[in-house]
Symmetry: C2
Subunit: 446 residues, 2 copies
């Protein structure tokens, strides 16, 4: 077999890079569980009918068929790989509603697949980490406040522990925008929102132009709509600036109040990481309330690494409706560019903390015994694969970043190969420095 | 959307069942890392040409295509879902050989897909957990001794911690069988091995019959071949029984000696869990040395939950060859039947240890503060979603198995809802019982 080549859009990691990813996954899991989110996994395949949104099948889906499928089987039971974790989760909730307790808090970390043209920051296979809270028939708005705090807490741990750049989440509220448009007497808030979404790309003047030509807004309406989209603040001061535009409606009031709650809680628990930004629209039109978008400060060109929002009807079986609010973290999208640039580095490529040297094959059993004793006290240990000269065995450890090499039996000597220090040690008592016990991960930021 | 139905062969777990699976995954990961195995993940999709074995494409593969693939694209770049973790790992080793340090020890835990007819214990999507040690050009035989000890150590932890039935691994060695056949003057050891593989199913007499009619063996040859397959022992006494058959060859000696090493190490490190069983053949013919098969004692009808062996050429690029030895654990195959029968039970369906009650919506911020204080000390906590009567909030906790409910502010009271005990507590100091901190998993065996 000739040396195989990578497939574009399907990134794979070397062991030391995977160690970084595992570390990040551990931080996410730990944070989500501290907040009482239960883990769920769904199958990778869904019926094509489930993957279709509003009857339309997205272009980017991968269709899956048994190689020797029975004729005719494919059409009725056709399956596709899921392209996000929201659609499968909605199906899971409907399917298992009778066995779940609502509000149901779940996190889900899995690969998803999209047949898009691969390019910088876009992958065909990638991992997402989602948190959602789903209610039965109703879901209190304080969960809109809670969800961003959980994700920002996880990102803050990655910032503090690994030096990942700090996150900046921008939050808006559809009720706020739509209430404002209503107050202005605008009849088609959806169409207006679509144009406003372009403010960042094409600028305020161009959007004003679009609003008047394509949405038939008056000059005053266009001006106020764009003025609203230019308001942002890290505290509740955005309210005064909205009020100053002289528009009012009950829906606007609701939106303002809820967004103020989000911002105030963030000021207390994740200061400097969340901002009310009334330009945020989010393309997907199943969002009905709060919407979130997150960039890494200084790395805004990577795009949003964590987005989401409130949807009043994640799923419904006709009788019961399941409203929800959630955020999705694009783990691969976040990590792969940083790993590629060497920004996140593992202290070693193997979990091994101690390599037990082997003097000759006759005494391998003694080395195995030392290793077993160290492992029984939680120290990751392997035995040298060959009874080479000690220098070569030390190089074996060095190449993998293993910090310690053990010589002799259960009462032997242990060498820190970084410093060269060597001292007598008993395999029943010796402990490595805490920082050496597991693979460490550090950031290398310029 | 009508209530969706499960898809046969694609098992999904409820949150409490998934908690059990996560616990088992943690035990596996912990054990593998203690032994210095590095984690690797490979993409789910491989080119169909890679998935083909010896040029033949297995019937059970799922082919994957972009829904709107460009005409002609499919044929050249056709992809399929991997059906095991060995084929992708072999490809990964070849692709990245220049960046890996050999012998390379890796574990890999991922879903795999097979388009087989679903039936009891057979799934179309399932999780495998593999460990392998791969060398460049050569790999010492002591790794054949090491690999089963690692997997049995993991299974033993599950036995001790969760009450999973004890494992029983049966080990044989191809060199032993083939050397024995050579010593008997048999020319086609492969064909003989195939028949011997059926001893358990069809019995010794029927196999003797097959050997004489289909492999043209003499009565004496058939008798000795079957006699060999009937030898098993938990210690090295199998050697004397093989010798008593009066056959000898250098390859047989090598096989006997290596199998004795495996058995002796197992007697010391996992007593009672491994047996030399000379009937084990393993269907797949890429195995070239030691072969392993594992059942749960008392649950032999589940079939082998962990199998593997030594392969002298996992992968080769024509110049360099990568021999390896490994074991694969069928996690879904092991867990789903046991979860279905209620044999493994989680102590609660959510990670939450404490529910902070909310007196009224005006004091929710105070409850959030209590929760943050508890979480900052590692205690998984959530805040009650609605300011219902306390009885209803306690039922919210009870339904999910959350053991503690907190009343009042940072200086408040905490109730163990299982005993009804309630006592004053400070959110800066109070700690739950250690056993209550995370979800516990216990076995319910009859």
């Amino acid at each position: 077999m000739a040396r195989p080549k990578p497939i574009s859009g399907f990134p794979e990691l070397l062991p030391a890079q995977r160690a970084v990813e595992l570390h990040v996954l551990d931080v996410l899991r730990r944070t989500f569980e501290l907040h009482g989110f239960a883990n769920v996994e769904t199958r990778a395949l869904e019926p094509m009918s489930q993957l279709a949104r509003k009857g339309e099948i997205d272009k980017e889906i991968y269709v899956v068929r048994r190689l020797h499928a029975v004729e005719g089987e494919a059409s009725s039971d056709e399956l596709g790989l899921h392209f996000d974790l929201t659609v499968p989760f909605a199906r899971y909730v409907l399917e298992n509603a009778g066995h779940l307790a609502f509000p149901f808090r779940r996190y889900q970390i899995q690969k998803v697949w999209r047949g898009e043209r691969p390019q910088e920051g876009r992958y065909r296979e990638f991992t997402q980490a989602d948190i959602d809270i789903v209610g039965q028939d109703r879901l209190a708005t304080h969960h809109d406040v809670e969800i961003p705090l959980v994700m920002l807490e996880a990102l803050e741990k990655l910032h503090v522990d690994l030096g990942l750049p700090p996150a900046r989440m921008r939050v808006n509220n559809r009720q706020l925008s739509q209430g404002f448009y209503e107050g202005l007497g605008i009849g088609s808030p959806g169409a207006v929102l679509q144009r406003v979404d372009k403010v960042e790309k094409i600028g305020a003047a161009a959007v004003r132009e679009l609003l008047s030509t394509e949405c038939s807004l008056s000059a005053e309406q266009s001006e106020k709509v764009v003025a609203l989209a230019q308001i942002s603040s890290e505290d509740a001061s955005f309210i005064d600036r909205v009020r100053a535009l002289g528009v009012s409606s009950p829906t606007l009031d609701e939106g303002l109040s809820l967004l103020a709650d989000v911002v105030s809680a963030a000021q207390k628990y994740v200061p400097g990481r969340l901002v009310a930004d009334l330009s945020i629209a989010r393309g997907l039109d199943y969002y009905t309330g709060t919407v979130y978008e997150t960039a890494l400060q200084g790395y805004e060109s990577m795009g949003s690494i964590s987005s989401g929002g409130r949807y009043d009807s994640l799923a419904t079986d006709g009788k019961v409706t399941f409203p929800g609010v959630g955020l999705s973290l694009g783990l691969t999208r976040l990590l792969v560019p940083l790993l590629g640039k060497g920004r996140l580095v593992a202290s070693r490529s193997v979990p091994t903390c101690v390599l037990v040297a082997v003097t000759d094959e006759e005494t391998r059993a003694q080395a195995v015994e030392v290793a077993a004793a160290l492992r029984s006290r939680g120290i990751p240990t392997e035995v040298a694969p060959t009874a080479d000269k000690f220098g070569k065995q030390i190089r074996y450890a060095d190449r993998r970043g293993i910090p310690y090499v053990w010589f002799g039996g259960t009462t032997g000597e242990v060498k820190d190969i970084r410093t060269g220090d060597q001292a007598p040690a008993s395999s029943a008592l010796w402990r490595p420095a805490d920082a050496d016990l597991t693979i460490g991960v550090t950031g290398a930021w310029t």
